[in-house]
Every structure is written in structure tokens, then in C-alpha cells.
């Protein structure tokens, strides 16, 4: 190998020696693809931190304290199971696993029995109203539920730790004053979880539900999907699809119509793009809450859709420090949570 060739080899190897013009041309042409040194590692660390917080209990389980921890867990589990053991189904009229029902209008039925002035709805029983009847249920010591005409309600559980109704069809108005997650209403496609609130829940004959929150917060959940609905907002839920994106009831009609299409209809690419465009363009600052929900992981938005949503939301409500566009677009719910604090809706009560 001659000196000149060795010098060129050195340039290929470590950049020393005589520069090779061809390699320089390649380097120059390909510089376009080089890693962007301005990219920060901080969003990655923020994501790692959030994952570590969520996984903290798992990490701790790997320590040698595993055995005592499991023993304690087993004792706690046994205690919980004991306290929540099923109670024997009492006869109608018992005060243990039944709720008082009073007639508000017409002749509501419990099972096949008409309620004259009041009666008791036991676990497993059905309360039904016709077109002219209404009823009021006293939910233990935690609240009241008014049942509108043409409704069908079943009592599924009446315990100190869980109070659960099923609304098969019709409309109920719930007024609950209790710690969160004590009162539940099952609908054909989602469960309404009380987080300290007043709300109206309607289910039509097709099983489509509409939840409207008038005070506090309600969570709609199904198959691990959770949708938090604040006061003034509503959400639709449909069989086989679950709850849609929460929206404020005073939002522009065009936004609500397009949002429903996005959530529940199988749209072609052009229609879908148009629906999203309408949602984004019609959104007011207050509707940032809806856009933020669209960015949540389970909503199934494509990357390009998430980018559009991010940009519109950022224009309405600039993201806080530590929130990166790339990470949110990639589905970083932790950063979505940081942004939530700026939406002006507060947070539901914790148990």
C-alpha cells in the first residue's frame, strides 16, 4: 500500500490523513440523515420516570422482602374477602340488601307488584316504569335515584362497599353524596362510576347510552377504557364500542356531530379527515378537554391524526414544560396528564 492510499484509508478509519474527496462527497450528501443533536433526552427520562412510578410496586416486589409482603397481602385479601362476603338474599322488605322505593307518579312495578306509595327493591329485582309512572330509589345512606317513565332498572348489589344498579333502558337521575366508587350503574355498553356527583343517564332501546353530568365527576368505563366526565360535560356509549370522547354540552353542534362520527362510525379516509378537521376547527379553548381526551392512548387515532390534534390543542392551550410533541403523539399518557392540569376542569375526588 502506498503512502497516499494509506492516508486515504486513515481518513476512512478515523478522519485523519488526507481527505478522500469521494468519501467527503458521500458525507456531505448523507449529512441530511444525521441524528439531530438538538433532540433532548429529557422527554425519554420523563417517560421513564412516569413508568417507574406506575411500576414501582412491581419493582419493590423483586426485593427479598417478597415473602413477608406476600403474607401481609394474603392477610389483607382474606380480610377484604371476609368483609365483602356475599350476604344471603333477604326477603323483600328486609333492610339489609334492598333499597326503599317510593312512587312519584303512576304505578311503577317491582317485579310484577305495583308500588302503591312505597316498596323495597331487593338485589336481583326489577323496577319498571310505564309511560305515566315515575319512582324514587333511596340508595342506602348515600343518595337518591329518580327513575323516569319508560325505564327498566335492576338492583345488582347493595353493600356498604358496592352499590350497583343496571339501567337496561330509560332514564335515571342520580344524586350521590359519598366517597368515589361506591355507586355504579351498568348500562349495556359501559359502567357509570360515581366519583361524587349528580348526573342523568339515559339508555335507548338500542342500548345506546348518554351520560350528562350536572355536578362533580362520573367515570364511564368498559374493558379497561376509562372516560372521565366533568360537570357540564357528557359522553355517549354504544354497544360493542364502549364510551366515546367526553364533550361539553355547550360545545358547537358541528363539533358534537363530527365527534360522534369519529368515535362510532366506520368512515372512509376522506370523511374521517373531514370529521377530525371539523372537530379541531370548531373547538374552543374549553373544548381543549375533548381534544386532550382524543390524545389518550386508547382512542385509536393514527399518528398523523394525533399530530393534528396536538397542534390544535397546543394553539388553544399551550402545553406545560416537560410535555413534548413527539412523546404525546406517540401516546404518552403521562404527558397528557401533565397537560390536563391546564384544562380548567380540575380533578375528580380520590377515594
Amino acid at each position: 500500500m502506498n503512502e497516499k492510499q494509506k492516508s486515504k484509508d486513515d481518513y476512512l478509519w478515523d478522519g485523519s490523513g488526507e481527505p478522500d474527496a469521494e468519501i467527503q462527497r458521500l458525507e456531505s450528501a448523507l449529512a441530511h440523515f444525521r441524528h439531530d443533536s438538538e433532540l433532548h433526552p429529557e422527554p425519554i427520562w420523563t417517560e421513564i420516570t412516569s413508568l417507574a412510578h406506575r411500576a414501582g410496586w412491581r419493582a419493590r416486589l423483586t426485593f427479598p422482602r417478597l415473602a413477608p409482603a406476600l403474607a401481609v397481602a394474603a392477610m389483607v385479601l382474606a380480610a377484604v374477602l371476609f368483609l365483602n362476603r356475599p350476604e344471603a338474599l333477604p326477603p323483600v322488605g328486609s333492610s339489609i340488601a334492598s333499597w326503599e322505593v317510593s312512587r312519584l307518579a303512576g304505578a311503577p312495578l317491582i317485579g310484577s307488584n305495583r308500588i302503591e306509595e312505597s316498596g323495597r327493591l331487593a338485589v336481583g329485582q326489577l323496577l319498571e316504569t310505564d309511560a305515566s309512572s315515575r319512582a324514587n330509589i333511596t340508595v342506602g345512606k348515600i343518595g337518591e335515584v329518580e327513575v323516569d317513565p319508560l325505564s327498566r332498572v335492576r338492583l345488582l348489589q347493595a353493600r356498604s362497599t358496592e352499590n350497583r344498579l343496571a339501567l337496561d333502558r330509560g332514564t335515571i337521575h342520580a344524586f350521590i353524596s359519598a366517597p368515589p366508587r361506591l355507586f355504579f350503574v351498568d348500562t349495556p355498553s359501559a359502567i357509570a362510576v360515581d366519583l361524587g356527583c349528580a348526573y342523568t343517564l339515559h339508555v335507548d332501546d338500542q342500548g345506546v347510552g348518554l351520560l350528562r353530568v350536572t355536578f362533580g365527576w362520573v367515570e364511564f368505563e368498559t374493558h379497561g377504557q376509562q372516560s372521565l366526565i366533568p360537570s357540564g360535560a357528557a359522553a355517549i356509549t354504544k354497544p360493542g364500542l364502549g364510551p366515546g370522547t367526553p364533550f361539553f354540552e355547550d360545545a358547537p353542534d358541528a363539533l358534537k356531530t363530527s365527534l360522534e362520527k369519529l368515535d362510532f362510525e366506520k368512515l372512509g379516509p376522506q370523511d374521517r379527515a373531514q370529521a377530525l378537521h371539523t372537530v379541531l376547527m370548531e373547538s374552543r379553548k374549553r373544548d381543549g378537554f375533548t381534544l386532550l381526551n382524543l390524545l389518550r392512548e386508547y382512542h385509536g387515532m393514527s399518528k398523523s391524526e394525533r399530530t393534528l390534534i396536538y397542534d390544535r390543542l397546543a394553539a388553544l392551550i399551550p402545553p406545560p414544560p416537560g410535555v413534548s410533541r413527539a412523546a404525546v403523539v406517540r401516546g404518552n399518557n403521562y404527558m397528557v396528564g401533565l397537560w390536563w392540569d391546564l384544562m380548567g376542569v380540575g380533578h375528580p375526588k380520590k377515594k
Binding site: D9, L12, S37
Partner: protein, 213 residues
């Protein structure tokens, strides 16, 4: 959330002091690392061990140093395998995955090869997932209009055997030197040298053919 915020504030107040102590790294801006300032591999490895141990203990500064040291390597490995538009996102994924699994890495000295393997796996995952959705065009040169020459050169490099394309991209695109490539991929310097020479030879042949046609 509150705990995370506390951590964030703590991090922000301490990071400036910490990072100014770390030579060559500006966590809030660019990464200053010149090609000619390549450290000898043995020092890089012992430094890796220190950084890996510190990052494993939750030290952000150490993580920042590992990122500064390896981001270009991960980027280059991915660029050899996935569409350029997707590379940044997958770099993010690779570091995220690596940091989460750092506890399973027994020997910090093996970090370079371990991280490179994660990057290659992630690239393979990307193609598996992509097949479920949309077939990616094989010939990038035909699909790019804005920078035809760089894309056609990149496509030619990517068409070379993996060992050659990866090493050439690390050298020609990411600007790493041969010794740096060896230290940061776990390959021997001899292998890197051979890959560079043979890869460049094959690339020249393809470029020549391309010019003729």
C-alpha cells in the same frame, strides 16, 4: 402525579449544576462531541460501567451521558433498517426500553452491544408491525422527490449486507470514527475496519453502475 412533579422540580433545579460538571454535554442543547476526540475503547467501557450503574440508580445525568454517547449509534443502526422518517421515534423507543430493562443487564461493560441489539430488534419489530398495516416501499430512491441523491445513496447503502450498511452509515452519516464504532457497537476494531473497506468498495461499485445507467 404530585410525586412526579416534585421529581421534575428537583431535577430542574439540580440539572444545571450537574450538567455543567459533565464535560462535553449540554443536556439543554446540543451534544458536543468531536470525531477527533475519540476516547480509547477501554476508557469508554469503564466509563460505560460507571454510567450504567448510575443510570440504574435513577441518575438522570448519567442517563443523559449515555444518551449523548449512544444516540448517534442507535440512530445509525436504525437508519440502516427503517425509513428515515421513523428513525427518531424508534430511537426514543430504544432508549426507553433500554432504561426500563437496565436492571437485567448484569455487566455494564456489555452495554454497547446490548443497546445495539435492542436497536436491531426494534427495527425488526417495526417491520413486523408495518407488514400488518402497509407495505413499505423497498426502493426509497424512487419514492423521494425532495432529495433524490441523498436518498438514492442511502438506499444503495441499505441494500448492502447488514454488517456493511450499518458500519458505513455510522461512519458516513453519523460521523463516528472506526474506533468509536467499535467501542459503541461491541464489534472488534478489526471487524469494523473490514466492514468499512468492503462496504465502501461495494458502494463504489453500485454508484459506478448507477452513473453508467
Amino acid at each position: 402525579m404530585a410525586l412526579a412533579k416534585t421529581c421534575e422540580i428537583e431535577w430542574k433545579t439540580t440539572r444545571l449544576k450537574n450538567l455543567t460538571d459533565v464535560a462535553g454535554i449540554d443536556f439543554g442543547g446540543s451534544i458536543n462531541e468531536s470525531r477527533s476526540a475519540a476516547a480509547p475503547p477501554v476508557i469508554e467501557i469503564s466509563e460505560d460501567v460507571r454510567l450504567v450503574n448510575a443510570a440504574r440508580d435513577g441518575n438522570r445525568t448519567a442517563f443523559g451521558e449515555l444518551y449523548a454517547r449512544y444516540a448517534r449509534v442507535v440512530h445509525g443502526i436504525l437508519l440502516a433498517r427503517v425509513p428515515p422518517d421513523e428513525v427518531d421515534d424508534i430511537v426514543h423507543d430504544v432508549f426507553l426500553h433500554a432504561m426500563r430493562k437496565l436492571g437485567s443487564l448484569r455487566d455494564g461493560a456489555a452495554f454497547a452491544g446490548w443497546l445495539a441489539a435492542i436497536a436491531r430488534h426494534r427495527a425488526a419489530d417495526f417491520h413486523r408491525r408495518s407488514r400488518e398495516h402497509v407495505e413499505l416501499p423497498e426502493d426509497l430512491a424512487e419514492t423521494r422527490a425532495t432529495h433524490p441523491e441523498p436518498h438514492s445513496i442511502l438506499a444503495m447503502i441499505r441494500a448492502l449486507p447488514d454488517a456493511y450498511s450499518e458500519t458505513l452509515i455510522l461512519r458516513l452519516v453519523e460521523g463516528l470514527t472506526g474506533p468509536e464504532i467499535a467501542a459503541r457497537t461491541g464489534l472488534t476494531p478489526g471487524s469494523v475496519r473490514v466492514n468499512l473497506h468492503r462496504g465502501l468498495e461495494q458502494l463504489r461499485a453500485r454508484l459506478g453502475q448507477s452513473e453508467k445507467s
